[in-house]
């Protein structure tokens, strides 16, 4: 059994600066889709008198955390920290989606009627995504422990 990594000529790790730029782009995209859009949506719904148990601050906070994990994953991808960070990010995403599924409702009230829309099942279905990502992260973590650096030619082919 060898502890040596793969031949460095078989992979090409992007520079930290390049990874930071890409991570920033990922952060912008994620902040738009999981922070700004949901925040605006919840705020507008509230303006129309539609009541939802999801607090805008919760959505913003969780979105920022998920974005942070995504940024960290990308920057740390060439390192052994990638797997554990991915596990943490996926676990957080899974817990967040489950939390949303339990609070996914919107209620409209008038003087003689109340209409409640529930859409938690959509988020329960989406839970499969972080679960698969979690499986990928565990696999990567195990691989990094057993065969350090072996995935680098696969992740960053020369």
């Amino acid at each position: 059994m060898t502890t040596e990594g793969p031949d460095p000529s078989t992979y090409r790790i992007p520079s930290l600066a390049r990874r930071l730029v890409v991570a920033a782009l990922i952060a912008v995209a994620l902040l738009v889709f999981i922070v700004i859009v949901p925040f605006e949506l919840l705020t507008r719904l509230s303006g129309f008198g539609i009541i939802t148990p999801l607090a805008a601050t919760t959505v913003v906070g969780a979105g920022v955390v998920i974005t942070g994990f995504a940024v960290a994953r990308h920057i740390l991808k060439p390192t052994r920290a990638y797997g554990p960070v991915s596990i943490a990010g996926s676990a957080f995403g899974l817990a967040y989606l489950y939390f949303i599924s339990r609070n996914a409702s919107a209620m409209i009230q008038s003087h003689d009627a109340t209409v409640t829309l529930t859409y938690g099942t959509v988020f329960l279905l989406l839970v499969v995504v972080p679960m698969l990502n979690l499986a990928a992260a565990v696999t990567t973590t195990v691989e990094d422990v057993q065969h350090p650096g072996e995935r680098l030619p696969f992740d960053y082919p020369a």
Binding site: D112, A113, T114, V115, T116, L117, T118, Y119, T121, V122, L125, L126, V128, V129, P130, L132, N133, A135, A136, A137, T139, T140, V142, E143, Q146, H147, E150, R151, F154, D155
Partner: protein, 285 residues
Amino acid sequence: MSRVARAFRVTAIVALVVIFVYVGVAVYSASKLRGSGNSMGSGNHGNNNGNNNGNNNNNNGNGNGGTTTVGPNDSLIYSTSVNLTNPGFLPINSIQVTAVVTMPGGPVLARGGSPAMSIAPGATQAIPISFTLPPLSASGPAALLVTHDAVLPMAFWINVTYASVFGVAVNMTSNFSWGAPFAGLNATVGTPTPEGNGTVALPLTVSFQNHAKFSDVGTITASIRSSSGQVCATPSLSLNVPNGQSFNQSQTLYISPSCNPSGGSVLLSFQGPQLQIALPAEPIP
């Protein structure tokens, strides 16, 4: 192992796309849903198990556009239906209506609703809604409904599951207009007049309006009693009063001079082919 990890990630992306597409289609389909008001109309007009020539149902009475039939044990079953069209691509998995009618500020009068039904994509389904009113009687919480119209508070809940992922719960309050079958019932006993043959002539007038959604067909029996409870006479009046019509009929009774109805009462009861109602007693001045 890198390939395994990548396979997991690719599967996750595919799952994400599939779920987004499905939810998008479901939202689009839901936007196409159309409902229409109650539509039963005269669907079972006048047909109570084929042997009812009296308690016909009519929709041109007052109220909510449904029909009323006589159920077991003289209960009244109010029925209507709502048509719902599902022109989308995905099914309405379940739709169920629950309704509760209460007396004004008082106890629950009737419960009912619809069975849980599903509507396939592209189909139109009539959702039958019915609730059972207790037997009409001169006593109990529904006693007023025999002779008085009423606007009864009604609450109903609609639960819908659409495309297996969306749930809609609607809770509404409304009013149910009740038309009394013997509205303004009045039994008047006139002044007794001695007759030459040793009897006393006693005029009796019974009047009311039928505001119910069914016809009053049958017999009203009056029991005229003295203040001590002695039965002076028990005349019967045949009647056939369609909904919305008035009834006013007088009859002269000949009673024994020993039975003085002054201060007594008139006990009325209605008996039809399917419906028996004990009517409120009327005092005799």
